[in-house]
Amino acid sequence: MSRRIFLASALAAGLIGPVLPAHAQQPDVYRIGAILSMSGSAPHYGTVMSRGALIAIDEINAAGGVDGTKLELAIEDHKSGNTQAAVAGMNRLITVAQSPAVMSSFSGPTVAIAPISKEKEVFVINGGGVSLRMIGVSPYMFHNRSLATDLAAAAVHRAQARGFKRIAQIAGKSEFGDSVIAASYEVAKKLGLEIVAAEQFATDATNIDTQVAKLRASRPDVVLNWPTTPQAGLVVKRVREMGMSQPVISMEWTGEDTKIAGVANSNGVEVATDYFSPTADNAMGQRFYNEYKQRHGEDPDFYAANYYEGVHVIAELIRRAKIKGGNYWNGARLTEALWEDPSFASVYGGKMTFQKNGVALKRVAILEVADGQLKLKEFMAARTE
């Protein structure tokens, strides 16, 4: 079907009424939906995510598609987090593009489309949002970006690997902060490590001296720093200024944090995070990296990688579901196919495995801040406990 014909029939389907049966058994093309941040305050995310997804689509189509049927990407814009736009996009993807598989981004839009995913049995895979609120909201919703609690678990393992016994942790007073502190307690307990202090502060606090003083008084071996930018930088700044020389492991670190903490104070801070790097043992990652670099003249980040990976997951699910026959091009059958074997090739290298909560467990990178730059130190195996 040409683009023009598709648009005409889409218009008819959307504005006049359904002229095609929903999710035909053997479609002419597998149209995958994507609800991304294409405009608004943060269009950068939508740009790199769509690039990643399109590279995967082209790669699969160049190899003959999924058992001979081509993939197509239908992109909707949630305008950098507008939930009404996300819901409109989701409805449009279902009605006009007739996509039973959708890639979403940002936490708010992903939570907003969850009821539709649940009611219409639409398979959703999110590679951008990290909120815990996305967990358990739809049985057809999955995430190939690590959750904050999984990254916290990796950071505790990193502390153990470096031989630390006494852990202090600090976080914002929020659901996010509560959950990472609770997850760290659990993992530390299992690893036989002692949590000697756990401090929290108001999410918009600018003075955290009381909390840092308590961390110092607990004489820890290491400080686990859970806030996001810019408070990650604020914690490091005050920890160092109040005379603590212990190593710090963060979950997020940006240039803004370095600016707040200062280059000298930032040196040596480790960051446990999702990070895409095409190592020699990672053929899928190298293939993606080379194609991205060739097309766009820049290195792909992990957002682009996650959406490249997301398309490959959906393609694999279509393959698996089709083998079983029947009306396989729907969210329920794709979900069923995922649970039959929740392991998939990861663009980060090796395999990623979807856990019961729908979140993929993949290897975590340990980066180190050196002179304001993040340098890859090593990858850690995926684990939740």
Binding site: P43, S80, A88, R92, T95, E119, T203
Partner: protein, 563 residues
């Protein structure tokens, strides 16, 4: 079809937002930019109450509407003191504060992650979980709100709002309480926006701060401007276009990556083009209208309402030892004046003598620093202007202060006292009585316009009148107040001899029928012809008072003013 239904649901919600916002922006003329904040409070209240406290959906929605209306009324408080750019800043601050609270009151609002799992609305045993099923409810609510607000817009209350938009001082001078008008307009607008917010919360089953940013306020404002400020139907059309247009643009075949940015640019361009050719919006507010035939037929010859207990020459309004200081400037320095029933009193004096200050003090537009004002012996010194009008004292302004973007007829109608339709509860619960009185008032207004010679202009916009006609309309508006005491600030200046010949008898007739008339005038010939008494003011006090011809012989006056 779900996509199509979803677009229509969003149209219904935005139509509610646009019409309710138009009450404040278009009708009341209060440029407030916090509508998305009210939308958010409605949405979050029902979200919190239903998810955290298990409150039934409709109870939670009702609480959200009442709470938001209360917040809206509180938000109106700054509007009582500031307007224009200041009101924009104050309401923008409210918008920012509300969104900051939503982002940071983590325990209550879920912070940036918002609140999910909001229960669906269940009606007659059916959960409204699909766009199609929700559309029915959204359409019914939007239609009901449209007609409810339209009823308000065409009522005397709506007319008073538009008059306030045109001139706040003038609307007080015809007895309207601007404090109440502003509070009610804000509360009503906010409460209605909360209905849209609570519907959205239960439709999407999720709320987050991103959905209620200042961008939403600007979008709804764009709907009003595009459709037509002050026209509720225009706001609905604006909502329809701005909800539908982006969806239609999605069918444009554009390169991936830049497609949405290009669509947004195209969308903006289309708005610019539309407003270039229709600067007042697609459906501008109508200033002209066809008069109801029955009112025209009912209109007879104008007769002033007879006054009870009229005693010719008795003191009605009196100011004693009135002082008014503005910092070091003394505007009134012990004004003593008595106005009497059945007499025309003229105030003369050089510019800056304190004549208009005296009017402002006597009518409550200024509070005296010291001194007392009495009406028929009862003190009225601290009363606000609209209450003084209700007591029977009305005034005009030197600069006329007409309600320019209203019809000539509306300029008169708004001034009638004791209108049932000025009370919101009557508009909705006694519509028959309101309509009947309105018909009678239209007939009476036509009689007044006939009396001053503006009958043929009744259905025209006041802005299109000549200067002389404007002066006549001011008198007509004053007559409509049915006040016992009429204070006219330079009603005759700038009039040609023909018009003067029409107006002077009117003034005399008012006095002859028992009205207490006081006018400020510089034309001494006019003073001689029309006034029974003249008071000469200078330096913020009455220097002399007496019959005009006697005053003209006063050597002090001759020296300081006449020569």
């Amino acid at each position: 079809m779900d996509y199509f239904y979803h677009v229509l649901v969003m149209f219904c919600l935005y139509a509610i937002l646009a019409t309710s916002f138009n009450v404040v922006i278009g009708l009341a003329g209060l440029f407030a930019l916090s509508h998305a904040a009210f939308y958010a409070i409605g949405a979050y209240t029902t979200a919190i109450l239903t998810t955290a406290y298990g409150v039934p959906v409709f109870v939670a929605m009702a609480i959200g509407v009442v709470l938001t209306a209360a917040v809206g009324a509180v938000a109106a408080l700054p509007a009582l003191r500031v307007g224009g750019h200041y009101l924009v800043v104050v309401t923008l601050a409210l918008q920012v504060i509300v969104i900051d609270i939503l982002r940071n009151a983590q325990g209550l609002t879920g912070g940036p992650d918002g609140i999910s799992g909001i229960p669906r609305i269940v009606l007659f045993g059916q959960s409204l979980s699909t766009p199609g099923s929700f559309l029915v409810l959204a359409a019914i609510v939007a239609t009901a709100i449209y007609f409810a607000l339209r009823l308000l817009a065409v009522s005397p209350f709506g007319r008073a709002l538009r008059a306030m938009r045109e001139n706040e001082l003038a609307v007080q001078s015809v007895g309207k309480n601007v404090v109440a008008l502003k509070l009610i307009a804000f509360a009503l607008s906010a409460g209605t926006a909360a209905i849209a917010g609570s519907l959205l919360a239960h439709y999407i089953a999720f709320v987050s701060p991103q959905s209620f940013s200042i961008d939403e306020t600007i979008l709804v404002l764009a709907m009003i401007i595009l459709g037509g400020t002050g026209n509720l139907f225009g706001a609905v059309v604006g909502a329809f276009i701005l909800v539908l247009l982006p969806e239609i643009l999605k069918f444009l075949d554009l390169p991936v990556g830049t497609a949405d940015l290009m669509r947004n640019a195209f969308y903006g361009l289309m708005l610019i083009v539309i407003l270039r050719f229709r600067p007042e919006g697609l459906f501008p507010e109508r200033y002209r209208y066809t008069l109801p035939a029955e009112a025209e037929q009912a209109a007879g010859a104008f007769q002033l309402t007879p006054l009870a207990n009229f005693e010719n020459g008795a003191v009605t309004l009196a100011g004693e030892n009135l002082h008014k200081n503005f910092g070091g400037i003394v505007a009134a320095n012990g004004i003593d004046i008595e106005l009497r029933a059945g007499l025309v009193t003229g105030l003369i004096g050089p510019n800056g003598a304190g004549k208009t200050t005296a009017f402002n003090l006597l009518t409550g537009f200024l509070t005296p620093t010291s001194g007392t004002i009495t009406l028929r012996g009862r003190p009225i010194t601290d009363r606000r202007p609209h209450r003084i009008v209700h007591s029977g004292v009305a005034r005009s302004f030197q600069d006329l202060k007409l309600f320019r973007r209203m019809s000539v007829l509306d300029n008169v109608l708004v001034a009638f006292p004791n209108q049932f339709g000025d009370k919101l509860h009557n508009v909705y619960f006694r519509p028959g009585a309101v309509a009947a009185q309105e018909r009678a008032n239209i007939a009476r207004a036509l009689e007044i316009l006939e009396f001053v010679g503006l009958r043929e202009r009744a259905s025209q916009e006041a802005d299109g009148l000549s200067y002389a006609e404007e002066k006549l309309l001011v008198i007509a508006r004053l007559l409509a107040t049915e006040a016992e005491v009429l204070l006219l600030d330079e009603p005759l200046s700038g009039l040609d001899p023909n018009t003067l010949a029409r107006v002077l008898p009117i003034v005399r007739r008012l006095a002859a029928q028992g009205r207490t008339v006081c006018l400020i005038e510089h034309n001494l010939d006019v003073i001689r012809e029309v006034c029974d008494v003249a008071a000469y003011l200078d330096g913020g006090r009455v220097l002399t008072i007496g019959r005009p011809e006697e005053l003209m012989k006063d050597p002090q006056l001759l020296e300081r003013y006449i020569q």
